[in-house]
């Protein structure tokens, strides 16, 4: 019973929470908070259950739910999970639950905040689980709406600018995606009924049989348009400038979701839609993707080094880290793909942790200027320890999960693009540079008298940070479960793109 | 001197004259009371017509009954009209109709 509708439960449990929160009186703040906690906890547990009961040797989609929805256009309600989406679903479950606790000190309009938050969670699960392009698109757009308000209302001083920038940027991307989606639709035929279809699995099959649009230039244009749509989300240089602004202005929990989940959707879109649906174009443009990955890695790291805002630095570090994902995807090798997917997961965990950590210090000091601290490690030793762990994870220290992803990307890609990999590898130096420099400025040196009485990290904050830290260590030491989960699906993806 | 019989035409001339005087009064008088008087003249001109036609067109008293009815209505009308005049006076402190131009566009 549960497993028949498991994915629907995952997607719509937060939606139930959303309705309940709307029904609550606005001054019952703790009811609202705990409702949000419960209704994100349940999908998290369900996603763990999904992981536990998945057949990992099977490359296709599992827990499939397929119903006709809008029959006039042959649109389906079609959910399913495979090795590529499963880690993303688990990541979403985990981060959305922990972020509720990072939202605990939201100080106004709790009801609106948590209801929008729950809506956002539903949309995120929906994106990762839909197998109908139209449904995917709906969830993709649905995500935008709560995000806009969450940044625009509860954000920092320049929140409106940031929210509008985020909104317009993403919308520009989705318009391109919409056009491509319709192009796929009108060029597809459902073999059973002869009608057009949005069914991604069916579209994959047709792409495999070469039934799609014959003209090279149209396919290329479709691929590029789709790529830009996804690239904005990743974000790929030069479409990345919405990210630092959105991150800096967004409240802590939203930064975590933004970095941890939303950025993954771009790369996920490439793996779920671009690659299987236009495999020849994916191969044709792979070198370009690798170059963009290189630019992201090195450029992101150098620009991060120049930042004085703690959050902005981490935002640019995300740009740098997502470069590894693209490099791995461009490699078209099994090792590279594994590295890319691992890097996506790790980035969610580690960068999520970094944003939570910034939130901790921001709540106390009310600023994020890297030069405005000094010697914080004297006052907050546990916090300093967790931050150093997260920094080390982020700069790819072996033994933590970040390293596994990065080194696999390098190992997988070197065969194909040796020069690009060598230049990218200089990123390890710059990354170490900016993280350690930031650490030194904030935590080391003589203790700043101004922060003498600063409160130590509290239990709620530890509750959000420690699970992420443990995951980062666990997958650094024993990443095999991850590879078992994704292996079969990545092999299939690799076959689809013809390697 | 023969006294000429009074014919229907004579009544009608009287009634016409009376009606015209009434119209003239209604249209030209500034005083609302005077306008009301004009209206009374016009009504009574009509009454004369009714009675006259009743007399000259065969048996029956239908015309006279109508005239009586009309007189009663006229009495009621005067009462209402005077009440309106009084209430206008209360609001505007005048019954000069040239000043009552609130309908002016």
């Amino acid at each position: 019973m549960l497993s028949n509708y498991l994915l629907s439960w995952i997607v719509f449990t937060p939606m139930i929470g959303f309705v309940l929160v709307l029904l609550m009186p606005r001054d019952r703040v703790s009811w609202i908070r705990w409702t949000a906690a419960v209704f994100t906890f349940v999908p998290m547990v369900l996603s763990f259950y999904m992981y536990g009961t998945m057949d990992m040797s099977f490359a296709g989609f599992q827990f499939v739910e397929k119903y006709s929805w809008i029959t006039a256009f042959n649109i389906q309600y079609y959910l399913g999970v495979d090795g590529i989406s499963a880690p993303m679903v688990i990541l979403t479950g985990l981060l959305s639950f922990l972020s509720v606790f990072a939202s605990w000190n939201i100080d106004r309009a709790h009801k609106a905040y948590f209801s929008l938050y729950l809506l956002l969670v539903t949309a995120m699960f929906g994106v990762f689980l839909s197998l109908d392009f139209f449904l995917f698109y709906i969830f993709w757009e649905l995500m935008l709406f709560p995000m806009y308000f969450l940044i625009g209302i509860w954000g920092g001083p320049r929140r409106e600018y940031a929210a509008i920038k985020f909104f317009l940027y993403t919308l520009a991307g989705s318009v391109l995606m919409l056009v491509v989606m319709l192009a796929f639709y009108f060029n597809s035929t459902d073999p059973a009924t002869g009608r057009h279809t949005f069914d991604i699995v069916m579209l994959m099959d047709q792409a495999n049989q070469g039934l799609f649009i014959k003209q090279f230039w149209i396919r290329l244009a479709m691929y590029v348009a789709l790529f830009i749509g996804f690239a904005i989300k990743v974000p790929v240089f030069p479409f990345h400038t919405w990210l630092p602004d959105a991150h800096v202005e967004a409240p802590t929990a939203i930064s975590v979701i933004l970095a941890g989940v939303l950025l993954k959707m771009g790369a996920y879109g490439l793996m779920r839609i671009s690659y299987p649906l236009l495999p020849d174009m994916a191969t044709y443009t792979a070198a370009g993707l690798a170059v963009l990955g290189l630019i992201n890695i090195v450029y992101g790291a150098l620009v991060a080094m120049a930042q004085t805002d703690f959050k902005k630095m981490i935002a640019y570090s995300s740009v740098s880290h997502m470069g590894f994902v693209m490099l791995g995807l461009a490699s078209m090798t099994f090792i590279g793909f594994n590295g890319a997917l691992m890097q996506m997961f790790n980035h969610g965990i580690i960068t999520g942790m970094l944003f939570l950590l910034v939130g901790v210090i921001y709540d106390r000091a009310h600023h994020r200027d890297l030069n405005g601290f000094g010697g914080i490690a004297t006052y907050m030793p546990v916090y300093a320890g967790l931050t150093s762990l997260a920094f080390m994870g982020s700069l790819g220290l072996p033994g933590l999960s970040g390293f596994v992803g990065e080194v696999l990307v390098f190992l997988g890609t070197f065969k194909v693009y040796p020069v690009i990999v060598i230049i990218s590898a200089t990123g390890v130096i710059f990354t170490a540079g900016y993280f350690l420099w930031a650490y030194q400025r904030v935590f080391l040196g003589p203790a700043n008298e101004k922060y003498r009485g600063i409160a130590r990290i509290n239990g709620r904050e530890l509750f959000t940070l420690v699970p992420l830290a443990l995951i980062a260590i666990f997958f650094g030491v024993y990443p095999v479960p991850f590879f078992n989960l994704v292996g079969a699906s990545l092999t299939k993806l690799l076959m689809m793109v013809g390697h | 001197m023969t006294i000429l019989p009074i014919t229907l035409t004579d009544y009608l001339i009287l009634s016409g004259a009376l009606f015209s005087i009434g119209v003239f009064g209604v249209l030209t008088r500034k005083n609302a009371i005077a306008v009301l008087m004009g209206v009374e003249l016009m009504l009574n001109a009509a009454n004369i017509n009714l009675v006259a036609f009743s007399k000259f067109t065969g048996p029956g008293v239908d015309g006279q009954v109508f005239a009586l009815f009309s007189i009663v209505i006229a009495a009621a009308e005067v009462a209402v009209a005077l009440a309106i005049v009084i209430s206008i006076y209360r609001v505007t402190r005048t019954i000069d109709l040239d000043k009552e131009d609130t309908l002016k566009g």
């Binding site: 072996p398 590898a425 350690l436 | 249209l27 009552e100």
Partner: protein, 668 residues
């Protein structure tokens, strides 16, 4: 002899890791003696296990002295597998014993030295972590796992050099160590990526295990192997402080003194030498890479020694001497004499640990003073420290009979005879030996002998260190004195036990020419002479004619000043390399915020302009038409409304006129 160890090698690195975990997570709630017991106990247990592994291995026949213990599969991707596997062979077991043994001694010493530090448990946690990382490095069975330890020691050096982070200089030194190491790691990464790929596309086996590499390396062209060898060596220059990446090591003494001992002797800096020795089968096929290593090693040995001549900080002298001695080790492995390099690594571990711990004892006694110009005559007050320090100095200078003599001699002999070495490398090595004799004698004389130059307040407090500190000194002094006898040269008519034991590991390595006994005696004579000339000169300068050095320094100021400041290398790096990166990052940040984001905002502004224009069009043309109709009606109304006088009588007049007109139509 102890076959059980074949399944329990993983305990060797695991024990210090557990010790680190306990001390870092719960140490602040434990009493101090529990903290130090856990730390010293875990590393000592590792040492015992390593010794058992050694005993087991020697009990096996010489060509079967190797086993692999796989704990589990770390990364498994279809054909590509990296196990958490530990390789035990003569090389790794020797390294394991050096690392865990010297670390144990340093741990013990730290118990006394760090007794009053308020972050006691954290210190021991980091120290254990350091030992863990180094043991992982030496025991690993694949390059990738080795890289884990490789980076791990980098991290621990960062944590420990910057241990007293309240002083920003210490924090900076830690950061410098990590970042410079990362530059080396970049080379290391490129090296193993290239090797991995080169082997993979030729054999179809995608692996980073040493065994797999060794069996496939012959298929790879020499040019590729040379590149791989040099790139891996770039990693080694970072970790083992060679030109051009040695700059972090002199600053690394910012950490507590036992940490310096650990970094300079047992862990960290030896990693590069070990790596080259471990990859001997690769370097055997890449002679050009070996020549590069030998020359860089020789240059470093000489160059660092010249800087060491004039330093006044006791630890800084030792730091430059480490750089110089590491140069010797690279001469050794670079000319293909891998066992000689490892031999010197071992003897150096003994005497350098001793020198640092001895200097720690001096600094401890001097209440933190590190300037040798303010010491002098300490031998009376610190008898044990002085005696052990002198033994270590004799060993490092290569005085016959002490450990350093045998190992240094082995290296210089091979440097002269090996096809990858030659006279140039040998000569630099001999000159460095002269300089070593000089600066060590200077250090000993200025610190322990002559008249006291201490300020009276400090002098009152000078005292010998507690037993936990002196016992390690004595242990290390014994090793420094006799540790060399296991590797006596064949010219003495005995078997070189050390080289014989390591032999199987390097069997596939470089073939060196047969030894010639007279030549060996001659070269030995030259190096002994070199050492003694340095010693004699320094003795004359600092014990006999004590005015002379100051006068010379005065006279040849221009020659001395660069040496004081480390030849301006740091200044050069910070100006051109760090400055370059800093400039680049600022430039890119401006590019990002002005050009890229400028373009985005420009697009937005363009959009707004466009909408302003459209708004105007809307207002003027579209709305204009609508309004024109409205306005026409309004003005017509303005005219017509005059009819509406508001006077009922007028309306009646109109009605009557109208009626009259209608009637006139009807009637006329």
């Amino acid at each position: 002899m102890y076959p059980f160890i074949e399944q329990y090698v993983w305990l060797v690195p695991l024990l210090p890791l557990l010790g680190a975990a306990v001390n870092l997570l719960a140490g602040s709630r434990l009493p101090r003696h529990a903290v130090s017991t856990i730390a010293v106990g875990s590393i000592s247990a590792s040492f015992v296990l390593t010794v058992i592994a050694y005993l087991h291995i020697v009990s096996l026949p010489a060509d079967h002295r190797q086993f692999i213990d796989t704990a589990y599969t770390w990364i498994g991707l279809g054909g590509f597998k990296v196990g958490l596997s530990f390789l035990v062979d003569p090389l790794s077991v020797v390294m394991g014993m050096i690392v865990s043994g010297v670390s144990s001694v340093i741990h013990l010493y730290s118990v006394g030295y760090m007794h009053d530090d308020r972050r006691y448990s954290r210190y021991f946690g980091f120290l254990n972590l350091f030992a863990f990382a180094m043991l992982l490095l030496v025991l690993s069975d694949s390059i990738l796992l080795m890289f884990v330890g490789w980076e791990g020691v980098g991290l621990c050096s960062y944590l420990l050099i910057g241990f007293w982070f309240e002083k920003i200089e210490n924090a900076r030194a830690g950061m410098k160590a990590f970042v410079v190491n990362r530059i080396g790691d970049f080379g290391f990464i490129v090296g193993f990526l290239l090797l991995f790929t080169a082997i993979g596309i030729r054999t179809g086996t995608w692996s980073l295990d040493f065994g797999a590499i060794q069996s496939a390396v012959g298929l790879v062209p020499t040019a590729v192997l040379t590149t791989v060898g040099i790139m891996l060596f770039v990693g080694a220059t970072g970790k083992s402080a060679q030109i051009p990446l040695y700059v972090w090591l002199p600053d690394a003494m910012a950490g507590p003194t036992p940490v310096s001992a650990l970094i300079h002797a047992a862990t960290m800096v030896t990693a590069g030498v070990y790596m080259v020795a471990r990859m001997n089968f690769l370097y055997a096929l890449a002679p050009d890479a070996l020549r590069v290593i030998a020359i860089v090693g020789a240059l470093t040995a000489f160059f660092a020694a010249t800087i060491g001549l004039v330093q006044n900080d006791i630890k800084r002298v030792l730091a430059y001497s480490t750089v110089s001695q590491l140069g010797y080790m690279f001469i050794g492995v670079g000319v293909g004499a891998f066992s000689a390099g490892i031999f010197h690594l071992m003897t150096h571990a003994f005497f350098k640990a001793l020198l640092f711990l001895g200097s720690g004892s001096v600094i401890h006694a001097m209440s933190g003073e590190q300037d040798i110009r303010k010491m002098g005559g300490l031998s009376k007050k610190l008898p044990i420290t002085t005696a052990t320090f002198v033994i270590a100095s004799l060993a490092i200078m290569g005085v016959p009979g002490f450990a350093g003599f045998f190992s240094k001699d082995d290296i210089l002999y091979n440097a002269y005879t090996s096809p990858y070495g030659g006279t140039f490398v040998w000569l630099l090595g001999v000159l460095a030996a002269v300089l070593t004799g000089f600066y060590m004698t200077r250090l000993v004389v200025l610190t322990f002998y002559g008249s006291s130059r201490m300020d009276p307040h400090t002098a009152e407090h000078v005292h010998e260190s507690p037993k936990t500190m002196t016992i390690p000194l004595i242990v290390l002094a014994i090793l420094s004195a006799i540790g060399g006898y296991i590797g006596m040269p064949e010219a003495f008519g005995v078997r070189n036990v050390f080289a014989g034991f390591l032999g199987p590991v390097f069997a596939s390595g470089v073939r060196l020419p047969e030894g010639s006994v007279p030549l060996e005696w001659a070269l030995m004579g030259v190096s002994v002479l070199a050492a003694f000339s340095g010693i004699g000169l320094a003795y004359y300068f600092y014990a006999v004619d004590t005015e002379l050095p100051a006068a010379l320094a005065e006279k040849y100021n221009t020659a001395f000043r660069p040496a004081y400041t480390g030849m301006y290398v740091d200044e050069f790096y910070s100006k051109y390399i760090v400055g370059g990166v800093m400039g680049l990052k600022d430039l890119l940040a401006l590019f990002d915020s002005h050009i890229i984001d400028g373009a985005v905002n420009g697009t937005a502004r363009l959009g707004r302009r466009l909408s302003d224009f459209e708004g105007a069009f809307d207002r003027i043309v579209v709305d204009g038409a609508v309004n024109a109709v409205g306005n026409g009606i309004v003005s017509a109304g303005g005219v017509l409304r005059r009819l509406q006088t508001g006077l009922v009588q007028n309306y009646l007049i109109f009605a009557i006129i109208g009626m009259a007109i209608l009637l006139s139509f009807v009637l006329l």
